[in-house]
């Protein structure tokens, strides 16, 4: 039985790959930046994640892709949209989340989710790049600064300015005229992020503010975007440690469901818990849940059976 599953998010600006084990735990992840039409980055991310996990593509029980390029990947067994995958990945990262705000390179979306990470409702930016990573990219270029610097600079804004256009091209004109009027870079960038936040608020209201909100996607790493969105929403945003891999993780977990269903259908017992525990115990010569005190850990360890029990009884305690 293969013991790992891969999820790949083939986005418009980055490619992400995640490998999970049979319990859905992240074994390795990788993010690569890409050009608009290049699939080199996706291969790079896949190769990297396999190297990190010391595994081969053939070791994957399932490979599921998502993102704009989801249909272009030969190695994927199935593909799902970003909406389905972000919902699943975000709830796996933040189980209490009921609202997912994902701002990616080319689209932004809000998703109301249930406790299983299933989509209840969703809304997406329609037609143009308003309120997306692309919007920030265009405006970073107009202001001759690096995209990565934008957030930090915007956080220094002192004055509230307004960019009313949602269209990236028209907003670019507004930004240029605000600069020509003598407004500081900081204040103009504050307004750019405020504009993204307003757009996001509109999307949130289309699905409803139904509970704790988690933000995923690359823009979640932009401090100013988070700050302005929190301000307009009036609630704090929960930020996972690695928000940019939520889609790939979701894809992997959906693949895992699928793989487990197939194993169950073919009558194979899924002994992942025991096997993983046994492997861990064997590798570390320790007991499940051990944090340095095996005697203590053993008291709280879940009941073990069969192979694992015999293996554990033979183990040499490490002090």
């Amino acid at each position: 039985m293969k013991k790992h599953v891969m999820g790949i998010d083939f986005g418009s600006t980055t490619a992400k790959a995640v490998i999970v084990d049979m319990r859905g735990r992240i074994i390795a992840w990788s993010v690569s930046h890409m050009g608009a039409v290049s699939d080199a980055a996706v291969h790079e991310a896949v190769a990297d994640v396999l190297t990190q996990a010391s595994l081969k593509q053939e070791d994957m029980g399932r490979c599921v892709s998502t993102g704009y390029g989801r249909r272009m990947l030969d190695i994927a067994d199935k593909n799902f949209t970003e909406i389905t995958c972000h919902a699943r990945g975000a709830v796996a990262m933040v189980p209490e989340a009921r609202l997912v705000i994902d701002i990616g390179g080319q689209d932004s979306k809000t998703i109301a989710v249930d406790a299983n990470g299933l989509v209840a409702q969703f809304a997406m930016n329609d037609r143009c790049a308003a309120g997306t990573g692309k919007f920030l990219e265009v405006l970073a270029r107009a202001m001759e600064i690096e995209l990565e610097e934008m957030g930090d600079i915007a956080m220094k804004a002192q004055e509230e300015l307004k960019i009313s256009s949602m269209c990236a091209t028209f907003a670019e004109t507004e930004v240029i005229s605000l600069r020509a009027e003598g407004h500081s870079k900081e204040n103009v960038l504050g307004a750019v992020h405020q504009s993204i936040a307003t757009r996001t608020l509109g999307l949130v209201n289309r699905v409803g503010k139904k509970g704790p909100a988690v933000m995923t996607g690359g823009v979640a790493r932009n401090k100013a975007a988070v700050h302005y969105i929190e301000k307009v929403l009036g609630i704090p945003l929960i930020l996972p440690e690695t928000p940019q891999i939520a889609g790939a993780l979701g894809a992997a977990l959906i693949g895992l469901d699928d793989y487990k269903a197939e194993l169950a259908e073919s009558g194979q017992t899924i002994e992942e818990d025991y096997e993983v525990d046994a492997q861990m115990a064997f590798d570390k010569a320790c007991v499940t849940g051990c944090k340095g005190d095996p005697a203590e850990a053993e008291k709280n360890a879940p009941a073990v059976t069969g192979k694992l029990k015999s293996m554990m009884s033979n183990l040499q305690k490490h002090f």
């Binding site: 704009y68 799902f80 949209t81 970003e82 909406i83 389905t84 689209d107 109301a112 249930d114 406790a115 299983n116 299933l118 989509v119 209840a120 409702q121 969703f122 809304a123 997406m124 329609d126 037609r127 289309r206 139904k210």
Partner: protein, 398 residues
Amino acid sequence: MTPRSEIFEVLAKVCADPMGYARAWKTRTGRRVIGSFPMNFPSEMAHAAGALPLIIQEAEDPITAGHGLLFPFYCGFTRSAVDQAAKGDLAVLDAIMFGDHCVQLLGAADAVRVALPDTRVIFFQLISSMCDPWTLGRSKESFEKLRFELEDFIGEPVRDDAMRASIALFNRGRQAMRELYRMRVEGRVALTAREMQYVVKSSMVMDRAEHLELVEALVASASENLPQPEKRAVRLHLSGHFCQAPKPELLDMIEGCGAIVVGDDLYHGYRYISTDVGEEGNPMDSLARWYLDRNTGVPCPTRVQNDVDWDAFLLDAMRKESAEGMIVLMAKFCEPHMYYYPEVKEAFEKAGMPHLLIETEHESMALEHMRTRVESFLELIKRRRGVARANTPEGEVA
């Protein structure tokens, strides 16, 4: 028997160029072509007058000349109709008849009059309140006035027996198309949404006897080599789009995402063929009755019908079709639809029935973007199959 592919080739050609068909028909027969606006003109009447009744269709072309006559905030259908008039594409029509059903249509009719000063444009007022004690009488009055205008235009009376014959022919056409619908729901025929649209849309343009022959051939050939539908395909109902046919690429995209369309209430679909006209008695009485009946058969948000709700009709139709979700196709700036949609949304949320709103435009269609939304919607339905329904209401996923 004509092979199915050849039948669809003919129907598709008519749909792609309705005015081209009308020009050829006119040359062939030497008879009049009478154009009408959707959705309430009784084409039977023009047919009984010896003309080819043709419902004006939204064209593919970008709006150019029409911009000078109608504001861009009119719906795609009205702008396209005016644009076709301004470009001279409607020149083949000897007269244009229409009954008002929304403000935009009225505006468009005025603009068409300006663009085609030599074409007779006949307007008939239709009662929009469908449940009053005087509704039937008023609708009969409108149709009689229309008949009078038509007779004035052709210079001779439209005989009752000709009316009855036309009504019977149109009924047969509707029945044959409804039979195709029934067979599709029951899985006895594999028809894509595009093909279904070809069948209905072409019936709004073609010589009805010619069309009937093709549809009856389709019905007869239906059960041969029926491919089994994909097991996990989501059964969808399509709703909305009144005056214009949804773009076929959009229908292809929806089905290409893993759905099968099992029913619809589109004007270029079931709405148009839902109701027959009574064949007994006075044909004017029958037409007036038909006007009322078709709005209870498939309610239209352009009419005020207190005793039948569109949303309840949709939910009921979906139950009968075993549809798992609905895609609402809303033409941009279609006011009657915009006004009524909140009620549909609320009812669907209450019933826990998933639905997705897609706004369509004459000019552009961000198909890839729409595809992501449609796929997500279908994934939502598929992943919820078998999962115990959470308390969170499903619903609009705009």
